[in-house]
Assembly symmetry: C2
Homo-oligomer: 253 residues x 2
Amino acid sequence: MAKLYVVGFGPGGKEDMTFRAAQAIEAAQVVMGYTTYINMLKDIFPDKNYMSTPMKQEAQRCRMALLEAQKGRDVAMVSSGDSGIYGMAGIILQMAQAMDADVEIQVIPGVTAASAAAAILGAPLMHDFAVISLSDLMTPLDKIMKRVECAAQGDFVICLYNPKSKKRTEYIAMAAQIVAGIQGPDIPAGIVRNAGRPDESHEITTAGQLKDAQIDMFSIVILGNSQTYVKDGKMITPRGYTLDEGIVPDKKD
Amino acid sequence: MAKLYVVGFGPGGKEDMTFRAAQAIEAAQVVMGYTTYINMLKDIFPDKNYMSTPMKQEAQRCRMALLEAQKGRDVAMVSSGDSGIYGMAGIILQMAQAMDADVEIQVIPGVTAASAAAAILGAPLMHDFAVISLSDLMTPLDKIMKRVECAAQGDFVICLYNPKSKKRTEYIAMAAQIVAGIQGPDIPAGIVRNAGRPDESHEITTAGQLKDAQIDMFSIVILGNSQTYVKDGKMITPRGYTLDEGIVPDKKD
């Protein structure tokens, strides 16, 4: 039986890919994915048989991948980050079930964008956090903003995926305003653009000032919780360790 | 200037480690960490100079790592999963600032346990999710349970780290009861034990039945949101794709 690997290849470069992800891509007879991701992989694995489809053709791409595997060819369906977080793992499994496909599917996790962005900003995800996509392509806007509100009410660190696109420019300011209203406008906010890619950049601002930051569809935004602070250019959410002794509960917590 | 790499080496085996994590461990003159993690790495990198301290000596371990680096030796401070999610990145940065240490610190992200567990269960994290640790060593219990409640109110998928220890056996049942009260007792719940390690196992149950599941300190629990379903042994949170066309909003969403 042919294999279909659903591979998360991490932020972009080979160095942040897992060995298992690289091995699956190398072993696959067909590597399939969204055009942008395929172009990133061509530099790392130049000699593969690639097939790509544009965005918004996810279902068709999954059907193609399963049909290839049913012909007996091992396929790697690739996404950046983790294949299981806003990636292709779900729709592949759904499509395989709908097609009753006789294919062995293996989900290979990767380093998700939240982890990559956090490492660049310092250590903002040391405590409980919520991950929210601001894309309303598949979720109504009021549900997204309700999640932002619930996350701020719970004093979660909040990691926003898809904070902005060409059409969606105002949602990040709406989300920042909700968080600032609950947690105060001085809550730290970090922005990482193109995490783990050659043109990576980042800045640290506040929830109140986030509307003026440079943010695009390749950015991740991390809003701190009530404990998060910025020092020496690093955004840190302490976990409650004291530096003198072992562990004691953080008094502020 | 010596380097201090804060390395997340993923679930456990070399195959789920990134190339950058492996390179940092190979390059380091000293590899330091919690005893359990060091024992996992000794099988993969047998010839390193290891130093370990037991749990609850995190601050001392960081000071040792920084002192080694100040002597001019490159150090890898290791955690399983992602070093930036409940890992060592935060306390290392805090300690370096407190010591005014002249050391170059690089945080190297890894595959976090949520990603590893999700890949084993199917695709439960395809939509917005919250990550919560049930350890009350550094967070008051009422704050933890408030976060569980806020996450369920926001219809987040909920990923629970540290669901149980020898002393803390009841918190997972409390959390499950809160979620069941808001989302209903039939919400799917997945448990992965020892994700990515040789003795890995998993089961899928419901929020209402979670109190009877086999859960320990090496487990991750993922509670679904209102859309999550189980089919053919896979736990899936659909993202709203339809299988016939491209993308349309999920009608249930």
